[in-house]
């Protein structure tokens, strides 16, 4: 299968690979996917609690090039967004940006799930109610 230039770029030069200190109260961690499905994404956000803005985002992904690119792109988009803006990221925006073929749409879904899961973790840690739809894609 031919990958788009953007997928290849993110795969070859992934942005924001790494870990944030998950014990910190203002860090939210999302771990989605399963090894036996061939995709696991861990996406973390660090939130400035006064402005509700995401100041840092990191990822680690086990998966194909499209999965790595989707999570790399997600971390790029998350930085500087408010938590509410981040919640509005739709998987189809990732599909369009990376020109993912139909068989790779699940990679973008997983990235959206990872974002929501990380935000949810942040909310729960900070005494906010859990998101209704955090697990809705599964």
């Amino acid at each position: 299968m031919a990958y788009s230039d953007k997928v290849i770029d993110h795969y070859s030069n992934p942005r924001n690979v790494g870990s944030l200190d998950k014990s910190k109260k203002n860090v939210g961690t999302g771990l989605v996917g399963a090894p036996e499905c061939g995709d696991v994404m861990r996406l973390q956000i660090e939130v400035d609690e006064t402005t509700n803005t995401i100041t840092d985002a990191k990822f680690k992904t086990f998966g194909c090039g499209s999965a790595i690119a989707s999570s790399s792109l997600a971390t790029e988009w998350l930085k500087g967004k408010t938590v509410d803006e981040a919640l509005a990221i739709d998987n189809m925006e990732i599909v369009e940006e990376l020109a993912l073929p139909p068989v790779k749409i699940h990679c973008s879904v997983l990235a959206e799930d990872a974002i929501k899961s990380a935000i949810n973790d942040y909310r729960v840690k900070n005494g906010l109610p859990a998101l209704e739809e955090a697990k809705s894609h599964h």
Partner: protein, 404 residues
């Protein structure tokens, strides 16, 4: 100067040996006759070339030239052998025994047989990819007409105990067929000593052209017959109609001759190269060879690199043409059924690469491949959450994964 990408997917297909092409050339141009034309020199020349090829093939597998039925390739040969025996021996019984790690050309043909009312037993394999002779013995019934077990596996290179299997089949009055696609031309295959009654093989896995293969069908002790699966002019002793692919057949013949003459040297060189590749890659932590290392084709290794995903790994080793046990191209993300049959977990099956070396593989290419794979695996592991968890001592099997 090393040319990239490096082709290490020779279990999928091999390049044409220039000497094979040279042998074929006249039959693509001036010697164009139909081998079935008995009335003029054009036909005679074609027939002579086909007969010569039969002799070259027969010499490689130790059979009689008349026992070779030319086909379009191993898939057709597998179909013809299995369906042909099922039809021809329907009076005797309707039971066929095969294994779960066979090629789809065998498995899907067996599924077809089941739809026709046949009964098929699919033997499991152990962690090395070998069937159990006790299982086979226990599966044999008076209705068993055919045991079909591949010689060497296409994904792992595992070689089955062919002689022992043949002996069990014969003891119970069944025929023994083998899919010799990966083995013929690579290791010594002797249909007499091995007790093979039918064998499928193809040219393009042994440096011959695509689109031509053969089915060996034993002519005595016992005389085996298969019902033709294609109706027409009654070519190939009535078992396979259709104008013979003369240039292809000449190519198959030449490929077999070269294999016979060069097998020992090729095997020594390729197994040394394969072993070096394997030894180097196993220096990476958490990497495992899939299939038997003892009973294995000399030019194949299949290695799982735990905590990296196969398709991502394939992308990382873009300078190599190899195969992965991951089939992440469909929504189902089915990993290799062969590796799963060996008992590999889905994630380990997803994380595998298959290397198939050829007569044309060089030490320089292997050096490059070793470094390239090591770099890719290391980079992807640094990016892998599973690797990080493993390093932290977290038991991944205890995590409740949100499957999607």
């Amino acid at each position: 100067m090393l040319k990239l990408p490096i082709y290490l997917d020779n279990n999928a297909t091999t390049p044409l040996d220039p000497r094979v092409l040279e042998a074929m050339m006249p039959y693509l141009t001036e010697v164009f006759g139909n081998a079935a034309s008995r009335n003029h020199p054009f036909g005679w020349a074609a027939e002579e070339a086909v007969d010569y090829a039969r002799d070259q093939i027969a010499a490689l597998i130790n059979c009689d030239a008349k026992e070779i039925i030319f086909t379009s390739g191993a898939t057709e040969s597998d179909n013809l052998g299995i369906k042909g025996v099922f039809e021809m021996y329907s009076q005797k019984g309707n039971h066929i025994i095969t294994a779960t790690t066979e090629h789809k050309a065998v498995l899907d043909t067996c599924k077809h047989i089941e739809k026709l009312g046949g009964r098929v037993t699919y033997l499991p394999v152990n962690s090395e990819g070998l069937i159990s002779l006790e299982d086979l013995e226990a599966a044999m019934t008076p209705q068993t007409i055919l045991v079909t077990i591949m010689y060497g596996n296409n994904e792992t290179g595992t070689i089955q105990p062919i002689r022992e299997i043949a002996a069990i089949a014969h003891k119970h009055g069944a025929l023994f067929m083998t899919d010799g696609t990966q083995a013929v031309g690579k290791i010594p295959v002797d249909v007499v000593a091995d007790g093979i009654d039918l064998m499928a093989f193809t040219a393009h896995k042994m440096y011959g052209p695509k689109g031509v293969g053969a089915l060996y069908v034993r002519r005595k002790n016992p005389r085996v017959k298969v019902t033709a699966q294609m109706d027409g002019g009654g070519h190939e002793r009535g078992m396979r109609s259709g104008t013979l692919n003369v240039p292809g057949i000449v190519g198959l013949g030449k490929a077999c001759e070269l294999a016979r003459l060069e097998m020992a040297a090729d095997t020594a060189r390729l197994s040394a190269m394969r072993d070096r590749l394997e030894r180097e890659l196993l220096t990476l932590e958490e990497s495992y060879v899939n299939g038997s290392r003892e009973h294995r084709l000399p030019h194949v290794t299949n290695i799982s690199f735990k905590y990296v995903e196969g398709e991502g790994l394939m992308m990382g080793v873009k300078d190599l043409a190899v195969s992965s046990g991951s089939a992440c191209t469909s929504a189902s993300l089915e990993p290799s059924y062969v590796l799963k049959a060996l008992g590999l977990s889905d994630d380990l099956a997803h994380s595998s690469l298959r290397f198939g070396l050829s007569r044309f593989t060089t030490d320089e290419q292997i050096d490059y491949a070793i470094n390239h794979v090591k770099e890719a695996v290391t980079k992807l592991r640094e990016m892998s959450p599973l690797w990080e968890m493993f390093k932290e001592g977290i038991d991944l099997s205890k995590i409740e994964w949100a499957e999607h």
